[in-house]
């Protein structure tokens, strides 16, 4: 036992060294496991099941600047000609005779010319339009090959590589929200900027709106701006009699809007 006298110190050091090595190995192993198991950024981290998107539009706030329509074309590479729009802005002018005039020069991208006759004007307002991402989408129903579909998070999309270009979906959309992209010869429409939304960003049109007339959000989250918008406003959707279940909700919508 005697000659083991100095050993406790030495063995103590050894134990410490072993412990250190052990901890280092553990840490390395754990970090290796964590590295393998770590979620791929943006992909696996995003679960469509946890979201259900919609949009709110406050007519009273829209000033018809058309920045949304312009931003949409830039963000999504939509042809610049005035026949192809994923979103556009309409101006309604209702006079005291009850006559309604509607216009949307180039989708409202460059704003609107001054009204020619303001005398006798009863009310006038702007209405941004886009795909309503319907809960019962007639476009999805009619697509013969299933190239247009609704995602789990409530967005209606078109698979460009599968679309045969029959244009039945364009006929079936009651809102004129679809067009045939002349470059790809496939159907195209608003995606709610899905490529941005899955990264936690806002759709381009919402991002640029200077008055906050467009509110994007998640219908599954009580804290989302859209939920708040829906609690604070009386809402209306477009063409409710067609039972398409639009998920673009308008506040202060006028009965003249179709």
């Amino acid at each position: 036992m005697k000659d083991e006298g100095p050993q406790p110190e030495a063995s103590g050091e050894k134990i410490y060294a072993d412990r250190r090595a052990f901890l280092r190995t553990c840490a390395q192993g754990a970090s290796a496991v964590l590295f393998i198991l770590q979620p791929r950024q943006g992909e696996a981290a995003y679960s469509p099941r946890d979201h259900f998107y919609g949009m709110g539009i406050d007519i009273a706030k829209c000033i018809g600047c058309g920045r949304c329509a312009d931003a949409c074309k830039k963000e999504n590479d939509v042809p610049r000609e005035p026949f192809y729009f994923r979103t556009w802005v309409e101006r309604y002018m209702i006079n005291d005779q009850g006559e309604t005039t509607v216009d949307s020069p180039n989708g409202g991208i460059a704003g609107f010319p001054a009204a020619t006759n303001e005398k006798g004007m009863l009310r006038t307002f702007f209405v941004p339009k886009l795909c309503n991402h319907c809960a019962n989408p007639p476009c999805v129903q009619v697509c013969p090959v299933g190239a247009t579909f609704a995602t789990e998070d409530g967005v209606v999309l078109v698979d460009k590589d599968y679309c045969i270009g029959c244009r039945y979906c364009i006929q079936a959309c009651p809102y004129g929200a679809r067009f045939l992209d002349p470059r790809t010869r496939t159907a195209d429409k608003c995606t709610f900027c899905y490529h941005r939304v899955v990264k936690g960003l806002l759709p381009a049109c919402v991002e640029v709106c200077p008055t906050g007339a467009r509110v994007f959000g998640d219908l599954r989250q009580r804290s989302s701006p859209l939920e708040r918008f829906m609690r604070m406003n009386k809402l209306q959707v477009l063409k409710p009699s067609l039972n398409t279940g639009p998920k673009v909700y308008y506040a202060s919508l006028d009965g003249e809007v179709r």
Binding site: T100, T101, G146, G176
Partner: protein, 404 residues
């Protein structure tokens, strides 16, 4: 200048910006026109086969071949119209079961193979066997091929052919109704479009199909007979004119019912549709479809055909009657083509905002142009000539089992 820019300047009122361009053009007008002729010609054949209208026997085989020639061409305008025709096979391999259009391939395949090809084969089988035993001529090889190796023409086997043919025709009648009613459904089920969305559309399509098919067969029968320098069977012509009159009365009644119903209900869309009918569709709907294509033929056929009174209300000599029948049949073809035009093009001329009208600018060249459309209308005639050469539908070409 971009044709769309020009259209943009002709827009009246407000249309959604994506609606300025018409998405279904002339080719989609031709598609229901052609399938209507198929269904109509087949229904005429079934009058002979199932309902034993003996006077129409001379048109029986010609009707079947005509239906086949037009059916072969029917999918071509659709194919040419697709943005990606090379992907059209996807309709067969991954059809969307909720889509009316996805069913096209299946309805078409059923009609082509189960109904038309089988019926023609059973009807011609005996003749094919006899023709294939001719000592000379290159056609006997084709005929031999078409017998599919079945050369039994005993009385028992011919009896089976007859009952099989009859059975197929009985299946064929609802199938013909399905084929064209289905085409009507493609339009009638679009709830977004108040001009199309009507439960009557498939039925209107069906009866207009029967009208167009009978009128076409009247023309083809007369042409085929005159070109072969044979005597025209006036009993057959009178019977064709009679059925044409009846079908036209039904078709016109349904169209009027649809019209009056819309007018009486006067829904939200009535203002824009009235503008459409009194403006951009006035020539093709009021003049061509209703007046020249329906009312005038109704009047002529009602007066001179034996439909209302044996020998006709006005008794005319055969030649004159024949001429008036031809005139009516041509007017009816123009009228039915206008009907298809008014449905397909008319349904896209007004905005779904119900606030404005756009215009249709027909192209001359290109896949969807006038020339392509004309070629698609001529192609069935060429196919029919080939079919007639291969399978003569005339009475004198028929063989008798004893001659074998």
């Amino acid at each position: 200048m971009d044709p769309l820019q020009e259209i943009l300047r002709q827009v009246v009122g407000y249309v959604y910006p994506n609606e300025i361009e018409l998405h279904w053009g002339l080719l989609i007008v031709i598609y229901p026109y052609i399938t209507g002729l198929v269904a109509g010609a087949f229904i005429l054949a079934s009058l002979v086969r199932v309902f034993n209208v003996r006077e129409l026997q001379p048109t029986y085989r010609l009707s079947l071949l005509t239906a086949l020639a037009y059916l072969i061409v029917a999918p071509l305008p659709l194919l040419a119209h697709l943005g990606h025709p090379e992907r059209s096979y996807e309709i067969f391999i991954t059809p969307n079961p909720h889509s009316a259009m996805a069913m096209f391939g299946f309805v078409y395949a059923w009609y082509l193979t189960v109904v038309l090809l089988l019926e023609i084969w059973f009807d011609y089988r005996k003749d094919l066997v006899v023709w294939s035993q001719q000592p000379h001529g290159w056609r006997r090889w084709v005929h031999r091929l078409l017998t599919l190796g079945v050369t039994d023409i005993s009385a028992q086997s011919l009896g089976f052919d007859r009952s099989a043919g009859r059975f197929i025709t009985i299946i064929g009648i609802p199938s013909a109704f399905l084929l064209h009613g289905y085409v009507g459904f493609i339009f009638g089920s679009v709830k977004a479009n108040p001009w199309w969305s009507s439960v009557l559309i498939p039925i209107v399509f069906l009866f207009s199909a029967i009208v167009s098919g009978i009128a076409l067969m009247l023309l083809f029968y007369l042409l085929g007979t005159l070109l072969r320098s044979k005597a025209v069977d006036m009993a057959c012509m009178d019977k064709l004119a009679m059925f044409l009159f009846y079908a036209l009365v039904l078709d016109f009644s349904l169209e009027m019912l649809d019209f009056i119903h819309r007018l009486y209900e006067a829904e939200e869309s009535i203002h824009i549709l009235s503008l459409l009918v009194s403006g951009r569709l006035f020539l093709s709907l009021v003049i061509l479809q209703a007046f020249l294509g329906t009312l005038i033929p109704l009047l002529i056929l009602g007066l001179i055909s034996p439909a209302l009174r044996r020998g006709g209300m006005v008794n005319l000599p055969d030649e004159l009657r024949r001429l008036l029948y031809v005139g009516s049949a041509v007017l009816i073809q123009i009228g039915i083509f206008s009907t298809r035009w008014n449905v397909v093009i008319g349904g896209q001329l007004f905005s779904k905002s119900l606030r404005g009208l756009t215009v249709y600018k027909m192209q001359l060249l290109g896949m969807e142009g006038l020339f392509a459309a004309a070629a698609l209308l001529i192609l069935p005639l060429v196919l029919l000539l080939v079919l007639i050469a291969m399978l003569p539908p005339w009475a004198e070409a028929e063989t008798h089992p004893t001659g074998a």
